[in-house]
């Protein structure tokens, strides 16, 4: 049990941090929902960062740390699935990677080169042609898309499907950890500056306690995501994803409530993180789906 980063992990996360910093702030003239970071993805590709999970001294845990950090940027990059799930796919599959779950719109689907298609228990992979996918306008602050064509599907074996599902849970939790932290940071800044009744909002205990509870949840999501990335254990992955969706549900509401009317604007960046959190809440069956996985993997088959 060792909670400090190794020198390799520190070097890698420092490098990711230097790249991410250029994309942390929302451009002041951007007043939209989906802020996608093509330039950020380009830099990550150039540095070969999408394959770090395969390098022994880094592994999935370091990849999860990178995903967590990148999710804190205002610009969204398809990093979580590429860094944590793609290395687990049987055979060579190009990135970006996106998930189509029960035919619904998904993050990065319109630009994905590999689709993970979930249909009930069955998981298949596909290489979509440009005409197979289309962009969808949404509130989710990720570039969303949907599958409209019928690309050839490569069905995964039950074991591969279970493994992919597990790493999708880890990816979801690591990404949620970063999003939640960024939403908290953004809210703390507002509560420290905005004054009412002659003092900063952050001095009022009614808000302080709720913020502190959210901070505890955020830390829990981070710890569980890191543990799951380290262990690659089915139960750990299910617990991490459940805690992420559970905490994210509360967080998405609380942070906007704290920001008041400012949080309603597209001028303030908060929605970039909270609405991305909302995009994660329904994935892999939502909380009910994760709970079922916890029941199976942590409590044995019901």
């Amino acid at each position: 049990m060792d909670f400090t980063l190794t020198s390799d992990q520190t070097a890698l996360t420092d490098a990711i941090d230097r790249i991410a910093q250029q994309f942390d702030a929302k451009p002041t003239d951007f007043h939209g929902f989906a802020l996608s970071g093509a330039a950020l993805e380009h830099q990550l590709t150039e540095g070969e960062y999408f394959d770090i999970a395969l390098i022994p001294e880094f592994g999935p845990l370091t990849a999860a740390l990178a995903v967590e950090r990148l999710a804190r940027s205002a610009f969204a990059a398809e990093a979580a699935l590429s860094m944590l799930v793609r290395p687990q796919l049987p055979g060579e599959w190009p990135r970006p990677v996106a998930v189509v779950e029960s035919g619904r719109p998904g993050r990065f689907v319109a630009t994905a080169k590999t689709l993970i298609v979930i249909d009930g228990e069955r998981i298949s992979l596909a290489r979509p042609s440009p005409g197979d996918v289309e962009a969808v306008e949404s509130l989710y602050a990720y570039p969303m898309g949907r599958l409209v064509g019928s690309p050839a599907l490569t069905k995964l074996s039950a074991a591969d499907a279970a493994n992919v599902r597990k790493w999708m849970r880890v990816a979801l939790a690591a990404e949620a950890a970063g999003l939640i932290q960024a939403a908290i940071d953004s809210t703390v800044e507002h509560l420290s500056i905005r004054k009412q009744f002659g003092r900063p909002l952050g001095t009022f205990q009614a808000l302080r306690h709720r913020m502190a509870e959210c901070a505890v949840l955020a830390g829990g999501v981070r710890l569980l995501a890191r543990k799951a990335a380290f262990s690659g254990n089915d139960g750990d992955a299910a617990l991490a994803a459940l805690h992420a969706q559970d905490s994210g549900t509360r967080m998405a509401y609380e942070m906007h409530q704290m920001l008041g009317a400012m949080g309603m604007t597209l001028e303030h960046p908060l929605h970039l993180w909270t609405y991305r959190i909302k995009a994660l809440l329904s994935e892999l069956g939502g909380r009910g789906g994760q709970a079922q996985a916890v029941a199976t993997h942590c409590f044995g088959k019901p």
Partner: protein
């Protein structure tokens, strides 16, 4: 960063488990009611001496004081296994966790020689005279007075919620020697000193846990003072930081959650809402576990723990609550004679957010020190 146990840690845990298997009586779970019940306290007295003989009472203490200089992981693994077994050490866990180490750091040679060996031998119980009727979370407002009379101090006042006072040999007492926050001092007082009266408070936690303790003209020598006059705040802060992540409550909560789920499965009642609620409670337990392990890791590295210890407490409170709510909703028979350990856990879980600094105090600390929000006006 890694989340595995070392072979030595696994082996130590196995040693503790086999000791427990060998020394806990077959009916232990049915007698393990009430953290300081008569039967549990009498058992603890014998059990702790055996633990000491086996080198399992204070392994993390310095060799000079009967330990073997083992690290904080050893102490925490020991604490996890003991707490999961219903804490057969009774009130002696406090000696092991913080009273002993605090005396090693701040005690006089005479105090150390007098008090530490009996702790290391498992032969003594202490109680902690902190809270008062008018001073709970606001501990600095305590009123119990210690007035100097020549070389002695005369103590008058009242303590409340004092755990294990009915069986304790010695009290770690906070009393006021002058006005203000820096006017509080610590006294180590034998409970047999004339003028001390203990009255048990019946409680939902279980038999024998909380008490009122009255001090009426209790005369103690100046040598009973721990540290210097007015040093209580500094010493207590150190002690409480050890206490804050002292009891691994998440471990028993998790064990009881699994046990409740097993009961429901056997009865064919595990499905729907029970699945969701149990999974959520389990995630909360594991979050609290990792938070706590993070603090132990900091202790091992000699890093001063900050607001993360408060976060660990809050995470633990949440885990206890979710497990408690799950049991009440889906396994209600547990609190009606159906499963003694589940009931005992439920009774003890209520303490999680209250003892050693209320959860709301922790939330304030997190807001200020972790989130860096501006302080609230006083």
């Amino acid at each position: 960063m890694e989340f595995d146990w070392t072979p030595e840690q696994l082996s130590f845990r196995a040693t503790v488990r086999s000791f427990l298997a060998e020394h806990l009586p077959p009916n232990w779970e049915t007698v393990a009611h009430g953290p300081a019940s008569e039967v549990q306290s009498e058992f603890a007295d014998v059990f702790c001496r055996k633990l000491a003989e086996a080198g399992l009472l204070v392994p993390h203490w310095p060799a000079r004081w009967g330990g073997r200089d083992a690290d904080a992981w050893t102490a925490f693994i020991l604490a996890e296994e003991m707490w999961m077994a219903g804490e057969p050490r009774g009130g002696q866990y406090m000696n092991v966790n913080w009273i002993g180490p605090t005396l090693m750091r701040f005690g006089s040679e005479e105090q150390q020689q007098r008090y530490i060996p009996p702790m290391a031998g498992g032969a003594t119980i202490w109680c902690q005279g902190f809270s008062e009727p008018e001073a709970g979370s606001d501990l600095a407002s305590l009123r119990t007075r210690a007035d100097r009379h020549g070389s002695n101090y005369r103590i008058n006042g009242q303590k409340i919620w004092t755990s294990y006072a009915g069986y304790a040999d010695t009290c770690f007492l906070l009393a006021r020697t002058s006005p203000g926050k820096n006017g509080i001092s610590i006294f180590l007082i034998p409970m047999e000193t004339p003028g001390i009266t203990v009255r048990q408070i019946p409680s939902v936690i279980g038999e024998g846990d909380i008490h009122e303790v009255f001090f009426d003209e209790v005369e103690v020598p100046g040598t009973a003072m721990l540290g210097a006059e007015g040093q209580a705040w500094e010493i207590t802060r150190t002690a409480l930081s050890l206490e804050r992540v002292g009891i691994p409550r998440f471990a028993l909560a998790s064990l009881m959650l699994h046990r409740a789920v097993d009961r429901l499965k056997k009865a064919g009642r595990y499905g729907g809402g029970a699945i969701e609620q149990s999974a959520r409670a389990h995630a909360a337990c594991e979050s609290a576990r990792l938070y706590s392990y993070n603090i132990i890791d900091q202790r091992v590295r000699g890093i001063a723990t900050g607001p993360e210890a408060s976060a660990a407490r809050v995470a633990t409170v949440s885990a206890e609550r979710l497990v408690g709510e799950f049991v009440v909703e889906h396994c209600p028979e547990a609190l009606a004679g159906g499963e003694p350990m589940l009931q005992a856990h439920h009774q003890r879980a209520i303490v999680a957010g209250i003892a050693s600094g209320a959860a709301e105090i922790q939330l304030n600390l997190i807001a200020t020190e972790l989130l860096k929000l501006p302080r609230e006006p006083r």
